[in-house]
């Protein structure tokens, strides 16, 4: 097999549930050894796409080829190489951490020695070695997700499908999680991950922005940022809502995004807008500590790209 050829190739995937088209003509490819992110709001069709890739949900139309295997017609063959961690990983709550790992290892017929070595490494990496005999039901949310990942990784997949693995996970666990993912990438595992956290999206090699079952944009984070029309201004202020109220609708302002310490504003031309916005805020009597041009985050890019899509639709 050609190493440069994409390891996952999905073409014109469609899946309908009653009236809703959960996935609507989706095409994308994932390159060998990259971390590919599927990003989109709730209901965008991320989980449906993952399930089809994992071979547990047949698409209505379209084709999926994973490492040369047609997953639509031969889902069982794909399962040997794919590891899929569903959005809600089903752990057996009455079983201990070790018993859960053992169960999934046995399902994939992983030899005991290999299982033990991997379990130890993964549990250490996620800071869970001391909880091995604890019942899964008694773990915290973050630990449950890390155990889910350990179970999913106890056999060596070529492709790892992770559906919102870090939703509801504390920041420390999230860092552990990503460290493990980077380690896997180094070993050559291809990772497909969905996330609703846009700061995580920045960690991916490539991203697809999913909306209403369609891919709006698919590119590297850097290229996506360049696609953002206009420029980003950062207004620091303790009263973000008031700032937004004062500047929405101003000439040249296309988007206002609330952030923790103020607002991010997407504008056509920063040079004319900086003084204009400053004046507007002063007139409205809204306190602010500065207006500067800023580097857009993926969140800024997506919000602004999504809004533009909404306007053109």
């Amino acid at each position: 097999m050609n190493a440069a050829a994409p390891i996952v190739s999905a073409k014109a995937l469609t899946k309908r549930f009653a009236e809703t088209a959960a996935v609507d003509g989706l095409s994308f490819t994932v390159n060998r050894g990259e971390i590919f992110g599927l990003v989109g709001p709730d209901g965008a069709g991320k989980t449906t796409t993952m399930r089809m890739l994992a071979g547990v949900l047949p698409p209505d139309t379209g084709s999926i080829v994973v490492d040369g295997i047609d997953v639509v017609s031969k889902p069982e063959e794909g399962k040997q190489h794919i590891s899929y961690m569903p959005q809600r990983f089903g752990l057996y709550e009455d079983l201990t951490v070790d018993e859960n790992i053992r169960f999934y290892a046995d399902l994939f017929e992983v030899a005991a020695g290999v299982r033990e070595e991997r379990a130890q490494r993964l549990l250490t990496a996620s800071g869970m070695s001391q909880f091995r005999s604890r019942l899964a039901g008694q773990l915290s949310g973050g630990m449950k997700q890390k155990l889910g990942l350990t179970c999913a990784l106890v056999h060596t997949p070529k492709i790892l499908l992770l559906d919102e693995p870090t939703t509801g996970v504390d920041p420390v666990s999230r860092r552990d999680f990503w460290r493990i993912l980077y380690g896997l990438r180094e070993q050559g595992v291809t990772i497909l991950i969905t996330t609703a956290y846009l700061d995580e999206a920045e960690r991916c090699n490539r991203l697809a922005l999913l909306h209403a079952g369609r891919i709006l944009y698919c590119d590297t984070p850097v290229a996506l940022k360049q696609r953002m029309p206009g420029a980003l201004l950062v207004i620091s202020s303790p009263a973000g809502r008031k700032v937004r109220a004062a500047i929405v609708g101003q000439a040249g302002v296309s988007n206002v995004i609330l952030v923790g310490d103020g607002v991010h504003v997407v504008v056509d031309d920063p040079h004319t807008c900086i003084p204009e916005l400053g004046d507007a805020l002063q007139r409205a009597g809204v306190p602010f500590t500065g207006i500067v041009a800023g580097e857009p985050s993926i969140e800024d890019v997506f919000v602004s790209l999504l809004e533009n899509t909404g306007k053109t639709q």
Partner: protein, 377 residues
């Protein structure tokens, strides 16, 4: 080939070991129901409230009535003076049975003719009524026979007269005293086992579907047969324990005699367990939620009891329902249980019901395996 059965079996046992409630549910309700049914449900009737109206006032009529009062089965609660009082007693449920002896009763008897005894029963409790009616018949015939032989003795020389009426001889086999409990308790083994096993297995797969663990199993390379058989083994073992418990209570507590071959009972129980748990697993593969499984369970179990011969004789059912009983494993298991417990018959007699259960188990298990798709749709 079927290597992945083992992790499923281990997992099921571990879950059962950790689930204290499950163990409680397996033992306590079973014992309670066994004792409850064993004591409460009996086909015998004692102390039937009875009203009598004697319009004949003869020695014969008094003799007949005394046969009812001297027997523990009837309590005379009302000695009526008129037909109207009898009607009232039945209407107000003061009496469940009324006996009316019309004037001329003794005279007919003395002439060697048939003398009528009018019996009125309150049919609203038809079960009691029918059983009581049976006793009335027995007592009346006993009376008639004694009277006829007395008469024959008195009328000497005239022998072989037609007045000597033939009594309908009730001679039950195998349960000579017609001990209702002996008949009932073995039947309980089957019905209780069916409820427990179907309940246990009906939720076995739906629960995993709801917990999200089924999705995990589906993305693994496990075969449907491995999964279903892996689920079968633990429930089979649990079911054997249940049967042993119920049989022990029947024999040790209710003193039901066991005259047959224990191995035949074991074989029958094994086949019955397989059919019941295959039925439960089939329910589980068909349902998407535990709620659905619960309703389906509820909906299915009653017909299984009714169409089993446990309480209602199959031979009295309409033909269509009789045909339905042929696909009911409980029907066959009851034959095996009663056969081994009370009759002591062996494989030579019991092979047809055993073969039928084996066939049902095979069909149901195969259907479950084919029905279980590794797909979320």
């Amino acid at each position: 080939m079927f290597a992945r059965i083992i992790p499923i079996v281990i997992k099921e046992f571990l879950e059962l070991k950790r689930d204290k409630w499950a163990r409680f549910r397996l033992i306590v309700p079973t014992l309670v129901q066994m004792l409850l049914f064993g004591y409460a449900a009996t086909y015998e009737v004692y102390h039937v409230s009875t009203a009598v109206l004697d319009l004949d006032h003869s020695q014969e009529s008094r003799e007949l009535i005394s046969r009812f009062t001297s027997n523990g089965r009837f309590d005379v609660v009302k000695v009526a003076q008129s037909q109207r009082e009898i009607t009232e007693a039945i209407d107000r449920s003061d009496a469940a049975v009324a006996l009316v002896i019309h004037a001329g009763f003794a005279e007919l008897l003395r002439k060697g003719q048939n003398a009528p005894l009018q019996v009125i029963v309150d049919g609203t409790n038809s079960n009691t009524a029918l059983i009581a009616l049976g006793y009335v018949g027995t007592i009346a015939q006993g009376f008639a026979q004694d009277y006829a032989s007395d008469l024959a003795e008195r009328v000497q020389g005239v022998r072989g007269m037609k007045q000597i009426q033939v009594t309908l001889e009730q001679r039950p086999w195998f349960n000579e005293d017609l001990n209702g409990r002996w008949f009932f308790v073995p039947g309980l083994i089957g019905t209780l086992t069916l409820v427990i096993i179907v309940n246990l297995t009906a939720f076995a797969i739906v629960r995993e579907r709801e917990a999200g663990t089924l999705e995990q199993i589906m993305v693994s390379p496990i075969r449907p047969a491995e999964f279903i058989l892996g689920k079968t083994v633990p429930f089979f073992v649990v079911g054997l324990g249940e049967v042993a418990l119920i049989v022990a209570v029947g024999i040790l507590w209710f003193q039901v005699p066991f005259v047959g071959n224990p191995l035949v009972l074991l074989l029958g129980s094994a086949l019955f367990l397989l059919s019941s748990l295959a039925l439960g697993l089939l329910i589980s593969t068909l349902c998407l939620t535990q709620q659905q499984a619960f309703s389906m369970n509820f909906f299915l179990l009653n017909p299984f009891f009714i169409l089993s011969g446990f309480a209602y004789p199959i031979s009295s059912m309409p033909q269509l329902l009789q045909w339905l009983t042929y696909v009911n494993p409980l029907r066959y298991y009851l034959v095996v249980i009663r056969g081994t417990f009370l009759k002591g018959v062996g494989l030579g007699v019991l092979w047809p019901p055993l073969a039928a259960m084996a066939a049902i188990a095979t069909v149901l298990l195969t259907t479950s395996i084919l029905r279980f798709r590794k797909s979320l749709e």
